[in-house]
Each structure stands twice: as C-alpha cells, then as structure tokens.
C-alpha cells in the first residue's frame, strides 16, 4: 500500500516535471529519470529491484478498472458496474467503446496489450485476469 502510494506520487511528480519542461522541449525520458530518483527514498530502491514485478493485488486492479469505467461517460448505467460486469451486456458499450476502454486500461497500467488479447477482453473480470497475468503492469 505504502509502496503504491510512493509510486503514484513519484509518477505525478514526473508528469508535472515533464509538463513544465515541455516548453523548452527537453527530452522527457532523462528528466523523468532524474525526478524519479530524487523523489524515491533510498530504502525503497533497496527493497525492490528494477526487474521485480510490481505486485498488484486483485482488489486493487479491480478497483482501478472500475474507477476508470466510472469516469467513462458512455457507461449507460453506473449502478451496474461491478467486478464481473460485461462491457456490452451490462454497461451498454459497443465494440468501439470496448476498444477505448482497453486503451484506457493500457494507459492506466502502463502496458501495451496486443490486438489479439485486446479482442478477448469483453468484461471487467477478463481485464483483471489479463492485468494480473502481466508482470510489467503497474
């Protein structure tokens, strides 16, 4: 929990730094590296190797996906949102909306989902299952 909070604050600081440096057109990658290492305490770095999995828990992934859908304005009936809801049957999304949801999930967890797998994600639990199977999801 503490670790994810740290990660989040580091990420927020990074995006802010990237935004403010955008005017000078400095490359984003090195600046994000610098801010990240400045904000993360050394104990955290010692505890987790760079190659280690982020270690997402199922409830956390579910919560983040449901939150993401809550903010998606095309969901017809937010009360039907649950960790098992089906995108088209329960939430009234068409296939194009599903593509958008999958893209939003890609952004949320900073991974890339290949087209083939993306095609198979039709419900919240399918998405959760897929994210949990990805070692590099954040």
């Amino acid at each position: 929990m503490f670790r994810t909070a740290l990660l989040r604050s580091a990420r927020r600081a990074t995006s802010q730094a990237a935004r403010s440096s955008g005017a000078i057109a400095r490359p984003v990658v090195p600046s994000s590296f610098i801010t990240k290492s400045r904000f993360a305490p050394s104990a955290f770095q010692a505890a987790r190797c760079y190659s280690a999995a982020a270690g997402l828990s199922k409830p956390e992934v579910e919560g983040r996906i449901v939150d993401l859908l809550k903010n998606f304005d095309k969901v017809s009936d937010p009360s039907k949102l649950s960790p098992t809801s089906h995108f088209s049957n329960d939430l009234g999304l068409d296939s194009l909306d599903t593509v958008e949801v999958v893209m939003a999930i890609e952004e949320e967890f900073s991974i890339e989902i290949p087209d083939k797998e993306a095609d198979a994600i039709h419900s919240v639990d399918k998405a959760v299952e897929y994210i949990l199977a990805q070692p590099d999801a954040h």
């Binding site: 068409d94 296939s95 194009l96 909306d97 593509v99 958008e100 893209m103 087209d115 993306a118 095609d119």
Partner: protein, 70 residues
C-alpha cells in the same frame, strides 16, 4: 457477433486506435473529437462487403493524414 473476416476487423480497430491517439491533440479538444469519430465509425458498422470496408479504411487513412497535417 458474426465476424467473417477477423483480419479486416483488426485493421479497422487499428486505424480507430491510431485516430483516437491523434485526436488527443485535436484543436477543438478530445471531447469534441471522440464522439464524432465514434459516430463516423458506427455509421459504417453495417458494411459487410470487403470492398466497401476497404474503402472505409482508405477514407480513415485520408482523415488521418488530414489530422496529421493540422
């Protein structure tokens, strides 16, 4: 859903994604762009003929170039 040609379907989804990504920087805002893009694709959802779908993809490519030129 009847899906006689998965390769073609994937192509359409790929161009949809590309256009969505381009639309994030659209001058009138992404909130203006997204429903219109969605409507444009949805209005062609009844196409079943491969030739017609190809034409649609070509049009999407054209729109993509127009947005890139903005």
């Amino acid at each position: 859903m009847a899906n006689p040609n998965p390769a073609l379907r994937r192509e359409v989804i790929a161009i949809y994604k590309e256009l969505l990504n381009l639309g994030k920087a659209y001058p009138l805002g992404f909130d203006y762009f997204r429903p219109r893009l969605h409507k444009a694709f949805a209005s062609n959802s009844s196409l079943t003929n491969e030739k017609d779908i190809r034409k649609g993809i070509e049009r999407a490519e054209f729109v993509k170039k127009e947005i890139e030129a903005l």
